[in-house]
Point group: C2
Chain length 139, copies 2
Amino acid sequence: MGETGRLRLSEAAEQLQGIQEVADSLGITTRTLRFYEDRGLIEPRRVGTQRIYSKRETARMQLILRGKRLGFSLRDIQEFLDLYDADPQHLEQMRALAGRCRERIEELEAQKAALEQTVKELATIEREALARVKGTEKS
Amino acid sequence: MGETGRLRLSEAAEQLQGIQEVADSLGITTRTLRFYEDRGLIEPRRVGTQRIYSKRETARMQLILRGKRLGFSLRDIQEFLDLYDADPQHLEQMRALAGRCRERIEELEAQKAALEQTVKELATIEREALARVKGTEKS
DNA sequence: TTAGCCCTTGACGTATGCGTCAGGTAACGC
DNA sequence: GCGTTACCTGACGCATACGTCAAGGGCTAA
């Protein structure tokens, strides 16, 4: 017994993990976990100097990572989490988050529209280029 | 006469502009123009040490800025331009560019989908939160 | 000639998000 | 006690995309 071999976490140890385990299970590095802690995004407890991650922290980490996947900066994410903590009912936090999401969606849609426009232009230019090529070959 | 007051560009001066004019007309800073030159994206001619931007350069700059708006990195843009220069017929360049555009579009669509999913989740959570609030008020 | 303006080239500063040592501690097995 | 392992805290490095001096050159007007 002793999955980790470290941190003899007497019982209920399933909930409490060391940094390496958490990093592995999240698919990130320990550096990232420490970095986020430095930025105040998470606050794992300590046993001496060692970090102990509870479910709360790993859940927060999943939120953070999702935020990142969605293209938010750590600063943005930090604001969400601050609201989340400051607002036990999560109402303001929900509204703010929903608002930011809509903004992001609009940004993405604008970019997508611009890209699609560009793709159309490219198609046109490509056709013209091909036409020129054929013309050139004949000459 | 003498729009610019600098660079007495005898005639046909409308085509040739100084760095500040170009920056102003593109809505960027001179620093940016010099930076892009440093990165090999543009190569304005010189009159002595001063940079002279022809239509070719300003046209390139517009391409570059569009690329940026579309979310490409300067490195990506540089590749496009290199291809553009290396391929007078622009055929390979067209294909490559079109491909990259499609990739970007897919990225954006994936992000958009993820965001929309999140928005849905948020809406659900918000509803539940509201319900809890009401329940709390009653109790 | 001198002031004033625009231009030039370094080169360091900034924000973001970590990677990558370096140097040190604590607990384990033998 | 010793070696190994996992952990810790700095702290510098890196890429991106410029901002921001600093120091100097050249041209024009007065």
